[in-house]
Symmetry: C2
Subunit: 206 residues, 2 copies
């Protein structure tokens, strides 16, 4: 793919292929698709993206994306504000919300501690979390970070910082996924699921 | 995916998911990716798309997309203008150009005859093709439409229209793909490749 018939198409393809998971071939297909639709469609499309990027704000409490200063989750009277679930990214909030299993509030860290990428605790919204816990009514902090080395490091760092308060600190369960076969589960996960086994009494409640 | 934290994100996701092959989950990932990049990036991105859509013109001769009134292929002195390759879409021109095997010019029909979709010969750029052939120097028309029923119908329609002129009308070879196993080729293709077998003399030249 080197000879595009038009510089304009080439530039559009270049831009489209900066998106994750979109190579130059797919980008070209998308560009040609946009060309086949009315001009107004592309304007609406482009406008929705710039409007989102310019208009988005982050909730002053949980740092989730929001249209208002306090996001709809933090502002909701039906959410349990005494439980904070700590996540890496905005996408994680959406993923947990979609389970419909959680009624507490969130705290978006903005990443995990990763010295190799130059991300230390001060780059993350950890002080803001501590401040929320200090200010009062929190009873439990649930750590829901990725199960990577960096996630574990961050979990441990947060755990140490949260020890100053008399609150419960928990971590989301790790084990074999629902529907998985024992035989095909990797040994680290399987080993972990044996070590952190749950009372059967408790497990049948769900 | 029903509760987006922001109307702006929701609208962006809606727009992104109008693209072919992009569902709501991927659209959300793309939207969050755009949010993670500087504002200027999204502006450049959106601008490249609207600029392409507004600025693109179609070559007055072959109807390929172009930045100029006559596209770079039609305008090139090194192309053989006595051979016209007829294709359905702009994307097909790019695909054939990428093979590096063709030095003639093109004619983009804009589709194929498909009564079921309400597309008759008058919806396509067939008269324009006939006009090009009538106006003079064309020696061969290569039909390179899709190998569907509609493609075959259109091929036959074009063939009939082109019989008024003393030119050669050819169709791109159909047969088993390079690298394919005979055993796993579908019977229609395999049957066709036997019926339209080529002289071995001719085939070893490539």
């Amino acid at each position: 793919m080197n000879a595009y018939p038009s510089k304009l198409v080439e530039r559009a393809v270049e831009q489209l292929s900066t998106l994750p998971g979109i190579g130059r071939k797919t980008a070209l297909r998308l560009a040609l698709h946009l060309l086949s639709r009315p001009k107004l469609d592309t304007h609406t499309f482009a406008h929705a993206l710039t409007e989102m990027r310019d208009g988005i704000i982050y909730c002053r409490q949980c740092h989730n994306i929001s249209d208002t200063e306090l996001c709809s989750i933090c502002a909701s009277p039906s959410r349990d504000t005494s439980t904070i679930c700590v996540v890496q990214h905005v996408g994680d909030v959406l993923a947990i919300e979609n389970t419909g299993q959680y009624r507490g509030v969130y705290h978006v860290l903005g990443g995990v501690i990763s010295p190799i990428d130059g991300i230390g605790p001060e780059e993350l919204l950890i002080d803001e979390l501590i401040e929320r816990v200090r200010s009062g009514t929190v009873k439990e902090v649930i750590l829901a970070l990725g199960t990577t080395m960096e996630g574990d490091t961050t979990n441990f760092f947060l755990y140490r910082r949260l020890q100053d308060f008399s609150i419960k600190v928990s971590v989301i369960a790790r084990g074999i996924a629902i529907g998985d076969e024992i035989e095909y589960t990797d040994e680290v996960t399987l080993g972990r699921s044996i070590l952190t086994r749950t009372d059967f009494d408790q497990s049948i409640r769900f």
